[in-house]
């Protein structure tokens, strides 16, 4: 049925008739205008900056408007090592972003702590406190990898439903859009992770795309 509908749309387009659904055009608009938060933590941020400049040109995907305020941003690119001292501020920035919002964890440090994992001062991955949509491995990932992550995120946005049980996270009233900010403890951050988001559950909306 779905395939037939797609074929029909293609056939109609060939005849000069364009059909769409509200969901499709809404997601099309959203995915091509994702504004990232101006926000870098370490060397990965340099690659992120390179991605935004002329050679790699993330503007081709509608994400060139880096917003210095979380209130105006749709996407948080966690680019670099998240130290335990910085983690509460990162979670606070996430909380201040309006829905719908997305997170890309860029590089080995942001996804797992990377080479500093066994250190006393580095968070073992930002997904311990906020849900992450796309993880990029690499140390640092090249701009192409960030672009790939961004295209992956666009696919994810494109596939989000507006209605029904499987509708997007931000359209459900009972799902949280803010997460508790960890406190500075005497030995570590308290709590060390948020059980609600970590480890990611198979049924979570933040599961890996097939």
């Amino acid at each position: 049925m779905e395939q037939e509908l797609k074929d029909l749309k293609v056939e109609l387009q060939k005849q000069g008739i364009f059909t769409t659904t509200l969901e499709e055009i809404y997601n099309w608009g959203r995915k091509n205008s994702v504004w990232p938060l101006t926000f870098g933590l370490a060397c990965c941020a340099i690659e992120m900056i390179a991605t935004s400049m002329a050679r790699y040109d993330i503007a081709r995907f509608g994400a060139e408007v880096f917003r210095p305020s979380p209130r105006q941003a749709d996407l948080m690119i966690v680019a670099g090592t998240v130290t335990k001292k910085m983690a509460p501020q990162v979670v606070r920035l996430y909380n201040q972003m309006p829905e719908p919002k997305y997170v890309i964890a860029m590089g080995a440090c942001a996804i797992s702590g990377g080479p500093f994992r066994d250190g006393y001062n580095v968070l073992k991955g930002i997904d311990r406190y906020v849900p992450v949509d796309v993880h990029i491995p690499g140390c640092p990932p090249r701009p192409e990898a960030l672009l790939h992550a961004f295209i992956t995120l666009q696919k994810k946005i494109d596939a989000q439903q507006l209605r029904g049980e499987g509708r997007a996270h931000h359209l459900k009233a009972d799902t949280p859009s803010e997460y508790p900010v960890p406190d500075f403890g005497s030995h570590d951050l308290e709590p060390t992770h948020n059980d609600e988001v970590f480890p990611p559950k198979p049924e979570s909306p933040f599961k890996v795309l097939p």
Binding site: K85, D118, N121, K124, S186, H187, T192, P199, P202
Partner: protein
């Protein structure tokens, strides 16, 4: 001091003798009662250092900075070192009365003695002269122990560049610098109570649950096939 014939490897173009022995002699001559000992460095670099007593440390530092020939006006680096308690075993020959077949007699007997050398914390300063283009002269300050006696005098009033580095040593080693203008933790948060660079620091336990997403067996199988 300015003996041109005996130039040390640490001497600058001006020819000032910067060897630890010479600097020690200058300090002792200038400051009566100044406790300063030379600590030999047996490595190839041969950078011998001076261990300063607490009482005259600031005075000695001011002398090194202001003395017309030394002019060590730049503290390029300051760091901490943790020397934990260590157990030393040594064999000692002791004269003892031993019961032999021909009655008691005095004999030399070897005994193994175990002694614990108490640990301490150390602050190390590397000094250079911008004006004379020479250096380094290395100073060490040692705390009494690693617990309550973790105090050394601060040299920040002498070299401003030591301020943040002393704060770092306070943060990570727990050395308290008396006389520091603003001694707070630099890198870790205020509520933190540990000293992570000490040798006996235990990091918080790993609380990472293993996430089985089914990827690992497939990856293992692939690796096995590749290896075979």
């Amino acid at each position: 001091m300015s003996d041109m014939s005996e130039m040390s490897p640490q001497a600058g173009p001006a020819g000032t003798d910067l060897s630890a022995e010479a600097v020690r002699a200058a300090l002792v001559a200038a400051i009566p009662g100044c406790e300063v000992t030379v600590l030999e460095n047996g490595s190839v670099s041969g950078q011998h250092s001076l261990v300063l007593g607490h009482e005259h440390a600031v005075e000695a530092a001011k002398f090194l900075r202001d003395n017309a020939e030394l002019r060590l006006d730049f503290c390029s680096n300051m760091t901490g070192v943790d020397w934990p308690d260590k157990e030393v075993t040594e064999k000692v020959k002791v004269k003892k009365v031993v019961e032999g077949p021909e009655g008691p007699s005095e004999q030399e007997v070897e005994e193994t003695r175990k002694t614990t050398v108490p640990g301490y914390l150390e602050a190390v300063y590397h000094l250079f002269s911008m004006e004379k283009k020479h250096g380094p002269v290395i100073l060490r300050l040692r705390t009494r122990d690693r617990a309550d006696g973790n105090h050394v005098p601060s040299l920040t009033p002498v070299w401003r560049s030591a301020e943040f580095q002393e704060r770092e040593a306070f943060d990570l080693y727990g050395i308290v610098f008396d006389g520091h203008p603003d001694l707070r933790r630099l890198l870790m948060w205020e509520e933190f109570t540990d000293y992570p660079m000490r040798k006996d620091y235990v990091p918080p336990p790993e609380d990472d649950p293993v996430v089985d997403d089914g990827c690992l067996p497939a990856a293992d199988a692939e690796q096995g096939a590749a290896g075979a």
